[in-house]
């Protein structure tokens, strides 16, 4: 059962994912092509809230997009986006957040940068793209190879975001501890499970 505080964390993180998509965060190719930080928001949800709450906040974000709030980067929203070629990525978002969260919980507290980057790459890039590419191939009626070539263009940007996400997560966990279990607590819990 989710308590009030969990509900609040899930809802507020939905707001964070939305805010990261509305604000052009950095523009490496000049102001014409701003890369928004929204896909970073998906990884951050898992890396900061953990698996369950992270996945639920991404799910809530998608529900708000579906009921018509234009929260996807570029001001897109409504049911139309779920008929578009990026539908696989949208479906993959909560799964990616869950996996990043699961791996981050394994790292435990204190947060480790290199392990965090690996968690973000495994969940937020590899798993997400696997689902996204299948979706793209189905909607556009192209081969998986062709869909993969299209997706490959975004990989360098995604890698940069995986690194930035880990730095942000490290900063947040230092300033606001208690969201992921400390390593000692986790091993104690595991010991209890074994004893039981």
């Amino acid at each position: 059962m989710l308590k009030s505080r969990d509900l609040a964390l899930i809802a507020i993180f939905t707001g964070i994912i939305a805010a990261l998509g509305l604000i052009p965060a950095f523009a490496p190719f000049g102001s014409a092509v701003p890369i928004t930080a929204q896909s970073m928001g998906i990884m951050l949800a898992g890396a900061i809230l953990g698996s369950k709450r992270g996945a639920l906040s991404v799910l809530l974000f998608l529900a708000l997009v579906a009921v018509g709030l234009p929260l996807l980067s570029g001001g897109r929203g409504g049911l139309g986006v779920f008929a578009g070629p990026s539908v696989g990525y949208l479906i993959g978002f909560p799964i990616a957040a869950f996996l990043v969260g699961l791996l981050t919980e394994r790292i435990g507290r204190p947060y480790k940068l290199t392990l965090g980057v690996m968690a973000n790459i495994l969940g937020g890039i590899i798993a997400l793209n696997a689902i996204g590419i299948v979706g793209m191939a189905l909607v556009l009626d192209v081969s998986l190879v062709k869909a993969t070539t299209i997706a490959a263009a975004f990989i360098p940007g995604d890698l940069a975001k995986a690194v930035v996400t880990a730095f942000v997560a490290a900063g947040v966990h230092a300033a606001y501890p208690g969201l992921i279990p400390a390593r000692a607590e986790r091993s104690a819990a595991a010991a209890e499970r074994i004893a039981a």
Partner: protein, 201 residues
């Protein structure tokens, strides 16, 4: 930064007055139909009906054009690929059904209030009850989510102002860490207020 206003455009047409549930059903049915029937004339019929819907709903032409423009970047190359590797008929089928479906979904969103959509989601969530999910909770989460989007955008503006005031260049990390920490502290207070109002009872 643009405010996240809902995409709903108020009106009094027949389409505005049809319930959100039936509209979503039509959308679902069309999606299934267009994966089965996608010959050029079938797709042309679907597209004509969707455009007719926009006319009946009295939506401004620029709203339709904006959607078409945002679809063009994916539709045109896709059509070219299909034409080169398959046939123009296949191109019309794939691209036409895709464009019709996205425009129809847009029509539903433009003519349905966000609150009506939320109510449908809560009703649909009724079947989740057997998995221990409370539909009332789903409705509460959607409402809390809408509210939180506005709250966090307000916090984001404060963080930006604070950074400009201190002359810091906005790097994604220097922006995201204070925004998230402030938001999490806000979530603590929000959680406390929810508990005080009996949400856990």
């Amino acid at each position: 930064m643009s405010a996240p206003v809902p995409l709903y455009l108020p009106g009094s047409s027949v389409i505005h007055r049809v319930g959100a549930g039936p509209k979503l059903l039509v959308l679902l049915a069309t999606g299934i139909a267009l994966t089965i029937w996608r010959s050029p004339w079938q797709v042309a019929l679907a597209l004509t009906l969707v455009l007719l819907g926009y006319a009946v709903a009295c939506l401004p032409l620029r709203v339709l054009l904006r959607q078409v423009r945002s679809l063009a970047w994916i539709a045109l190359p896709l059509f070219a690929v299909q034409w080169i590797f398959a046939s123009w008929q296949a191109g019309v089928g794939v691209v036409g059904s895709f464009v019709s479906l996205v425009l129809l979904a847009g029509l539903v969103t433009l003519t349905t209030r966000t609150t009506a959509m939320v109510d449908v989601v809560v009703r649909m969530a009724g079947w989740l009850r057997r998995f221990g999910v409370d539909p009332e909770r789903v409705g509460l989460m959607l409402a809390l989510g809408i509210r939180s989007v506005h709250v966090v955008i307000g916090l984001a503006e404060e963080v930006r102002e604070a950074q400009y005031a201190r002359g810091l260049r906005a790097s994604p990390r220097a922006f995201a860490v204070p925004l998230i920490v402030r938001s999490l502290r806000h979530a603590d207070r929000l959680g406390e207020a929810l508990a005080a109002r009996g949400v856990d009872d």
